[in-house]
Symmetry: D2
């Protein structure tokens, strides 16, 4: 079985294993205050060109999402997001379990526009019974989205302008950040991202690490007391250096972008392979996820040798399935899949 | 600086690093459903002699505590625990943030007795306004406790009998389980523990692993839907096999107990070292933590070369400080500390 | 200004004021355990033909909704409801603030069908990643709905059968229960309602009382510990007899239904008045709420003398507005409004 | 049976019933925005000499406590209070159910001192692992306390100074505020109270009303968005005028203080009655609650004709029991009780 069902099916880049071995006998204090975390923080600040940023390392994406949002919101506030947003549909209600409603905006491709968010917030306050509804308190988007799509620099700038107009923080879930940055059509750097939101995170779990997400807070007002929230949400890793060591490695020698580019190259080759065989796609994904439309018969045939994710049913005979590449995808496996199409 | 301030200052046992390297290129599904997790689950079931147990791997202790307790309690219930319990004092209110009160019982050495718990529950229902107070819904203890003390088999049996009498589950936080099992005065096996509670966890973070806690549920009624709770609390690691690989390694060749015994041997040597120099101790810790009483002057002198944890002030000139050994403690470092006393 | 903007703009039926005066000097114990509450409980049990029911009195609707749902759900569960459901859109996220997600089903008229609920629950468990989403734990509907529509006995029977099939409780929000029972097209008695769900409440606030909702639990498994939940949600009124006295009065001499019929008669007269003048309606409301479509010009003209609720914009020149009658609506006011149409 | 077991066993002052009758047919908008609420707000602002205050009417004490505290706190914060505080022991964990821990300070008479609070907060930040514990975010006290005791103006001034020094709001639960103000030894006016805290409430339920608590916010920073919190906690009464009418009545002609004085006079007479018969008291209560020490035999004898609250066991033959007077206590009943002592 060759797996293309997600970008967390392999371990990590070998340089991380080397670093773990090398550091194993070191004695360091815990909870993210060790020299490796400090170094990783500095490397990330340099990469985004923001010495003033606060950088924290958390274990996983759901944890990062709920921790950041809870650190920002008061009890009567909720998170504006796409209806397809990860926090709304794939975190077992972690946000609601922490007291906050997802305020959903319909989305077909995973993105929400500045105009949609502006209207949502204006409508909230225009209602006579606005106090009977949850106040928008943060805007949550993903880059790339759940559908593998991206925001352009213009789109993100517009969205951030709306957020600032309403004095509501913008938070970017970057679980697959590397694959967004490396995409052919992407027109933003990590520094651009950092300057066009209040808080975001750089995904490690899906991009080269064993696990770990680096939360970056650029809005001064949101920095205070963040470590309390990490601890309260179970994210303060005792041997915090595990996270520091991994992000140190990823942000040395431009590795984070380099390995992301590999995943994109593999996705592009696979996309061409599907297109050459005449397959259409549900979304025009620009990143490491492909959503081809396929007959049930062919899907069943592929399933014998290749793992993919069932995504949506189209009609009685066709469905959408998802293939995902990663930093670790081997080109020979891509070739085998293309042959089998 | 030689560190004795906690048992999470080093990496992991080398066999875990070997296993990570060996498995790095494997492709496996995520979220704890891979073959390594399956194998680790089987090894643990075998070690406790309970094929019927449900075993889940979580990342850290705070997460394990809040996940287990929330999976058991309904909204009007709370967790009975020692006032010194980790959930009450060292988790930034994670349990309260999830909606539940810690129902504390005074403890001098970290343990709570069957009689205390029985009285607490009886008193609750004896009150005319019992519905105006939080209903006891689970009993939480640690083995070893925060003070390094242990429950004897008799004490645990008595406590569990009280819990069963009141139909309230007993949960054992085993973040340092190995060091409890390996202690000279301990009279229980892991199988005994498993049979004298409803749910417990076996700590990896402090006992040989990079991170990870193995939650073991032996009460059939508590098994249902547990994975929803893991995901809701951000504990469902995408590359779940990291946890499987580590517990596989720890539960092969009796490593978990072997490495724990090393920590205990180091603690015993250090205890003798202190005692030989005439120091008294605050608690009679039986495990890998020492709580010597020391003059402020001597404490300051030691701090130049040795890291320890300030614990409590005794009088104007004396304090209690904590020294902790671990699976990775080097005997030469123990010797150096003894020399310096 | 003559008000038709809601059914809570007047005080209460005069018999309740008489009862308050008569009982004012009595000394009774608090928290709903006094003789008036006991009597009211018995009158309600008799009215629904269920001596086995548990009856509790709460202050308001939002409180009743969140208290009932929290008493039923565990942390990983949510409430299936119409997207227009009161808990989803008009309670400032009270349910989410208590930890639970609203699992919404699209609805055009406020109702959700047995087939929709069955599909929702089946789809949940059919998903490979079902544990990453909130488990359906209760089904919430309103009778009448927010749009003034009703379930027929057949529809409710079908819905309840689906709930029982999946072993999920059905909860009916009856804030306007009286107006539903009194509607011309309604084919259910209060006893039918009681037998076709697990828990429901009988609204007093909007139907004759100063305030108060009577929660009726018919499912034995849901009765336990309910008073803890009332207290935890701030619903245990110290002078609980205020609630007992009001429901005693409403359930004596069939007053609850009698006063509801008056509101329906007034709504029917008003509906005919609108229809005679050629107005169309957005929903075919069968109860005490009317949703006529009106030109902006006419709406502005009416607003000078009559209070109504803006409901929805239809096009650049037309909107839907809501008129509501109640137990206290004076026929002369209805006549004046009809004249003004 | 003559009841002295609480101050919520009778209805309300007759003037409130008169006002309810007089206003019953009026049509007003709901949710506390009607003219009666507006008038009541103005009367209260005048009574405290603070035109800038925000005044909101809630239904009950538990609701008022949790609503105020949740409006102030962020997720990682808790409420500093006496261990005997109502929020800690008598609200079924309402605060924890909303996500916040009670940070308790030992108290023998129900009060906590400025020095205790200062130490608590200093100790929090002095700890190396302060981020692993809940941050003090509000200080909660009661006036009078659960034990019927009072803060002097000096004590309250000192406490408020400590709160301001640490930039933590001070919140006063005034469920029995009237009885505190009317006490012989009290040296504060309502205006003093208003100026020596950030938010407080004036209890109606126990002091003359059928129900209702008036929350007064004097700290500008805490006023924003408070109505969202009221709605989220189920406290936004649909027929909000019920609360306005009651507080209008209580704050007209100085009634609130007048009726409170009656309760105090009755308590003083009863206290003398007990003292004359040689009884001792557990606390030196200055308000409407008495805590005499009594033999079990005598307690049983009294229980045949008088309702009181069992409070605490002293030894094998003696207990503390509580007698409470109120605005409605009849002197003849006090006389009968004294006779029976």
């Amino acid at each position: 079985m060759i797996r293309f069902d997600s970008d967390y099916i392999e371990g990590c880049i070998p340089e991380i294993l080397d670093a773990l071995i090398k550091s194993n006998d070191e004695q360091t204090i815990g909870y993210g205050e060790d020299p490796h975390c400090e170094n990783a923080r500095n490397l990330i600040k340099k990469a985004i060109g923001r010495e003033d940023a606060a950088v924290h390392f958390l274990v996983g994406g759901t944890q990062a999402n709920v921790t950041v949002i809870c650190s920002v919101l008061k009890h009567h506030q909720g998170a504006v997001c796409a209806d397809s947003g990860h926090i709304n549909g794939h975190e077992t209600g972690a946000l609601e379990a922490s007291g906050h409603k997802c305020l959903t905006i319909p989305s077909t491709d995973g993105t929400i526009s500045a105009a949609q968010v502006d209207k949502y917030i204006n409508d909230h306050y225009a209602s006579a019974s606005f106090e009977h509804t949850v106040q928008p308190g943060i805007v949550y988007i993903s880059f790339p989205t759940e559908s593998g799509t991206l925001y352009s620099k213009q789109q993100l700038s517009d969205l951030y302008a709306v957020c600032r107009k309403h004095d509501i923080p913008l938070f970017i879930d970057g679980a697959r950040m590397g694959y967004g940055l490396a995409a052919a059509d992407n027109d933003m750097t990590l520094a651009d991202i950092a300057n066009l939101c209040d808080v975001f995170y750089i995904g490690g779990t899906k991009v080269g690490a064993l696990f770990g997400e680096a939360v970056v807070i650029t809005n001064e007002a949101l920095k205070k007391d963040f470590r309390y929230h990490i601890k309260q949400h179970g994210g303060m890793l005792a041997k915090g250096r595990m996270l520091g060591i991994q992000f140190e490695t990823l942000f040395t020698d431009d590795r984070y972008l380099t390995i992301s580019k590999h995943a994109i190259a593999m996705a592009e080759k696979l996309t061409r392979g599907f297109a050459d065989k005449g397959y259409a796609f549900q979304y025009r994904s620009e990143t490491n996820q492909l959503f081809p439309i396929i007959s049930d018969e062919k899907a069943a045939e592929l399933a014998e040798n290749f793992a993919y994710t069932p995504w949506a049913r189209l009609d009685d005979h066709h469905q959408v399935i998802r293939f995902v590449t990663s930093f670790a995808t081997k080109e020979e496996n891509v070739d085998r899949l293309i042959e089998a199409l």
